[in-house]
Amino acid sequence: MLRLSVRVADAAARRRLCQRGPRIILQHSRPYTEGNTGGSAAKIVAAGLVSLGGGIGGTVLYAKWDSQFRTTVEKNVPYSDLLFGLALGPATSLDSTPTKKQLELAQPPSLMLEEANSSKNKAKKVKKAEVPSVTAATTPASNIEEAAAEASHIISAMGEVPSVPAPQDSEAPKEQCEECHQLSPPEMALSSEEPSEPGDVLTAPEEPLKERPAEEVTARIAQQDQADQDTLAFVSDKLEDSLASSATTTLQAIAAQEAALQAILQHTQKLKEAMETEVSAEQRSSHWKDLEDAVCARSRNVEEAGAALVQARASLDSLRAVVESAKDSRVAALRPMVLAAEENLHSMTVDLDRAVDKVQSVESEAKIVSQYSELVNEAKQQFQRELSSITPEIQANWKGLSGTLSVDDLNALIAHAHRRIDQLNREMAEQRVREQVHIEAALEQQKLEDQKALEKAVSLAVEHNLERARLEQERKQVELREVMEAEMRTQLRRQAAAHTDHLRDVLKVQEQELQAEAEEVLSSKMTEQETRYRQLTQEQLDNFTLDMNAAYARLKGMEEAIDSHVIAEEEARKAHQLWLSVEALGYTLRSSSLDSLTRPLEPAAQAIRESCQDEFAVALAAALPEESLQRGVYSEESLRARFNALRSLARRVALVDESHNSLYQYFLSYLQAALLFEERQEAPPAKISSQDLDPFKILSYASYSLEQGDLELAAKLVNQLRGEARRVVQDWLVEARLTLETKQVVSLLSAYANAVGLGTTQAP
């Protein structure tokens, strides 16, 4: 623009300055325009570039800071996503909340990862992490409510498939699941180390809720189901395993306990027997041996029982832990299993406890018996000591020395025995006295012990009852849950039925709408296609018509050309024919001997008249004198010859005319003719006046003309004859005239034929 204005100014300046004619000023003006234009234009270009760069940079920076702006820009401005991808890297809408996801994941994996680490399959970790992540999101809610909420969410998610974003609760686990899929296990392991609070789990995600399509929803639900199934299987397997192991161990423990019990009983029995039956030494020794065996067995059994008990308790603990962990799982199907496991656990613990109790009671009895036996042993020992103090020679094993006792020993023994008996009597009296106190004390002790045992038993029974009650409650819960589930299922079924009805209606409406739309589209497409087809056909028709027209026109042109050719050829033919006929006429005209007529020209003229319908030729042919046609004309030679004959006659009657026509005149004219000599042939001058002419001259001129072949002039000259000479030459004149006429016509015809022929003849 600037350049243009400058150029205009320059032109104006030049025009103004050119009148003065200085070139210098023009040369001055040139660098002025060039330099200034360049400078200002460069400035403008630089400013524009700077502003553009600034705008783009600002947009990129702002898009980096605000992703929503970025998405709007990407949506509205084409190819901006490429620019942003180059500048900022790929845009992810979840970039803003990575930490939250990690926090959400931190809590559930920590629950299960210790457990999962014991399992070998690492692939299950992901699924396991899914499930607890799924569970962690709704841990606060109660089981039924969360199930109901879940169901409602699933229904709502499925019912409003098009464009309603799914509610947060079902969205959050899905997000978390997506995150689970996205995060790799090491990331999860990393995140599990971070402690987290469950309160963070349900904070509203700041990223925009992206609704997943139905297939993803169903896929997710299927995945969840699959995960549930897997956990179910896993947990059930685990439960079974632990149940089995604990059952075996418990049974083992119980059996061990039973064995221990039996051993203890046996031992006590044996001990009692050993104590009470004072039989022979061998039996005693065998008894004592049995007793020892029994003791060993008892100790062993007790040890075994203890070990088995420990093992059983350990397995029961593990089972309890498993049950506890399984209870934490949200899968409803696990519950009866869990319940059954718990009941089993409870029964096992009860049995174990009972067995332990039995063992313990028996043990206590055994303890009493052993105490008694110990006392007895102690007494025996004391007795023996006394005996030994009295009789030191007797060895400890005095039972074996029952046959080698001396009398003194026996007396000492008896004395000792008596003393002992006295002592014992005294002790018994004392005992009787203290019996009450002892009994009371014993009763007290017994009461205490009983109380303790009662407390223990009560506590155990309370525990068991609690356990049973809890189990009962659990069972009732399970039953209730089942009932609720059934009811929920029926309600859900009803709802599903209603939903299906609604869906059906909606689908029907949609179907109708879609059908109408599709039909509309179809009809529009059809009309479009039809119009296109019609257009095409029309085009084709037009083209075809055009081609046909062109071809027709060409054909017509060709036909016309051919016709014209034909016509031309016809004309040519006619011309040729005319010419030929004219030639024939001419030939006929020439076809005479010296003194005779030509052939009659009628046929030739007829031929001419027939050959061409040309008016001119016809007129000319009609202009032929009748006599020539019928009779023929005299040729020039014959006329010439005749004239030669006539000449003398005309000479002879030269003086005879109207007024002078007597015989005397005749005589005079004869005389004149005999006496007058003229040139035989004399060239007629260019101009002749009538005064110059006298018959003789005329005749000589005419002869000359005839000799030259100029019949016309001869006829003209002969026509000047007057009087009798004229009368004499009249016929000749008429014939000459005829001939001339005919010749003229023929010449005209031939000229015309020639002209026509020339006209129709095509040059190659």
């Binding site: 005749r642 004959a645 006539l646 006659l649 009657v653 005879v656 005319d657 109207e658 026509n661 007597s662 015989l663 005749y666 009798e724 009368r727 004499v728 030459v729 009249q730 016929d731 000749w732 008429v734």
Partner: protein, 77 residues
């Protein structure tokens, strides 16, 4: 043919002359013989008459073309 006419005329003329002369002669002779006692004047007269008549006829014949022939036409009422 017109050129033969004159010849024809002359022929006629001559023929006629001959005839008339002969006739005159004859008549003259006759007359001379008959009426005029064999004088020669009737022969010459006759001859002359014959000749004259022949000449007159000849002339008339030769002149015949130039002589105007009129006809009386009745006036229209």
């Amino acid at each position: 043919m017109s050129e033969n006419e004159l010849g024809k005329k002359w022929d006629r003329c001559l023929a006629d002359g001959a005839v008339k002369i002969g006739a005159g002669l004859g008549l003259g002779i006759v007359l001379s013989v008959v009426f005029f006692k064999r004088r020669t004047w009737p022969i010459s007269f006759g001859l002359g008459t014959g000749l004259g008549m022949a000449a007159s006829n000849c002339q008339n014949d030769l002149r015949s073309h130039y002589v105007l022939h009129g006809r009386v036409k009745e006036q229209e009422q």
